[in-house]
Subunit: 241 residues, 2 copies
DNA sequence: TCTAAAATATGAGATTTCTCATATTATTTT
DNA sequence: AAAATAATATGAGAAATCTCATATTTTAGA
């Protein structure tokens, strides 16, 4: 595999615009803006390579990404998703010993990148930052627990609908089936079967090796069912924040 | 239902012994020990009632507990487990708006209880404490994500074995089937079917309405299979800490 | 460019798990 | 103590999902 380093560092006026539009200065007690770089990644680009400690703490302001990890047996698993307003690299900032997972943009993704060598120490001593990060993590942990305990309850059709919406780039869905099976815990055979069903129903249209979302509303409906519990929870956790 | 308030506040010498055996003073930058109460709960006792903000931040030093929550439709769900060295009530400490879940001891459980009205503000301004809590939450969030993404892959037999080991009080397992179905996301019918299978195999013995663990090793083996991914992950995250 | 490996596809029988129907105990309430 | 409610049980057919076998198409690497 050939990897061209293609992350774009956004400069000047454009950088300034991002900083103004998504101000995060209230998340720190020291003037962070001057240190912040704005990084832009294209679809499929790696934001962090597995096993390599990152040099930045990232804060996602636009886009979506996926967390991958390779198991002892060589199998690569999709572990979770990252969305706007999530942190990337906080595990490495907090834990000296931590096996870094790979993170790959699944759409164009823009991040604030805070250089660790300049700000790392300061961040770990910044009460406001730590308090915010702790809140973020507490909500995330709770969500995951809820999602875990609830999601087992629904058949693949619902979970897959949710997955498609989460991973689609606009209206185009094109994940590797093998990866998806792994993440959703179903067999390859069954995944194809259910995908075919979604096409039959007219929610998706298969074009070559990618799928186009034809009826987003219905998909959301399907996905919604399987997210009910989680939503109720998040609603209660998040509201008024 | 009749609920006698029965939590025991451990005093004097016994309190002192707990404090010495499980010192947590290194988790704070101020002298916390003098404020700490030691609370002891019996099996099935509620440590926190759903919807009631707790007056303490708890740190579990012995025992196991379960987190429950009631959904809009009145259904009560087991959300997750709590073990020794976990915090209870950190969500309430961190988030002003948070719907408090119910927490029930599933074996005799001993906690350090740190009174919020005395220490809450101080804790939220304590760098060391916040940093530790953030680490704890980051690991927990990661574990949950891994567990979620992996555990779907195994049939009930494996997940149930894990569940039984997690919830058993000594060798006695006696969860309500309805609750378990809900947590594990399977039908009542199927749960009984698999429980019967475990009995047939001689791993469990059914005595009235409770089950005795007859072959812990085999159960652990079954559970281990379904926990492989997670374990690998935790190993990498936790080792050397 | 050719070849090997990876990814996609599809069929068919076997397992797992679900739904529904219906009894039989506990437990709680009146 | 009787009645109502919740929890436990069991059977049987249906749906979801898995395993295995095998074929075709892409993709990566020599």
């Amino acid at each position: 595999m050939l990897w061209v380093k293609a992350m774009k560092k956004v400069q000047m006026k454009e950088r300034q615009q991002y900083l103004e539009k998504h101000s995060i200065s209230e998340l720190f007690s020291f003037p962070i803006e001057e240190y912040i770089e704005v990084h832009e990644y294209r679809r499929d680009e790696w934001i962090i390579r597995e096993g390599m400690r990152p040099d930045y703490l990232y804060y996602v302001i636009e886009g979506k990404a996926k967390i991958y990890m390779t198991y002892q047996n060589g199998k690569v698993s999709l572990i979770n998703f990252i969305n706007a307003r999530d942190y990337i690299g906080e595990m490495e900032l907090l834990n000296e010993v931590y096996y870094t997972k790979g993170i790959q943009a699944s759409t164009k993704t823009v991040c604030f990148a805070i250089p660790l060598h300049q700000c790392g120490k300061q961040m770990l001593e910044d009460i406001i930052f730590l308090r915010e990060l702790t809140k973020f993590l507490s909500v995330k942990a709770t969500q995951m627990a809820a999602k875990y305990s609830q999601s087992l309850a629904f058949p693949l059709e619902n979970r897959l609908a949710d997955f498609i919406l989460q991973t689609a780039d606009g209206d185009i869905y094109r994940e590797k089936h093998v990866t998806v099976c792994d993440f959703l815990g179903v067999s390859y055979r069954h995944l194809l079967h259910v995908l075919a069903k979604l096409c039959e129903k007219g929610y998706l249209h298969k074009a070559g090796r990618q799928y186009r979302i034809e009826d987003r509303e219905r998909l959301e409906q399907l996905a919604g069912v399987s997210r009910n519990g989680e939503e109720a929870l998040i609603y209660r956790v998040i509201r008024n924040e």
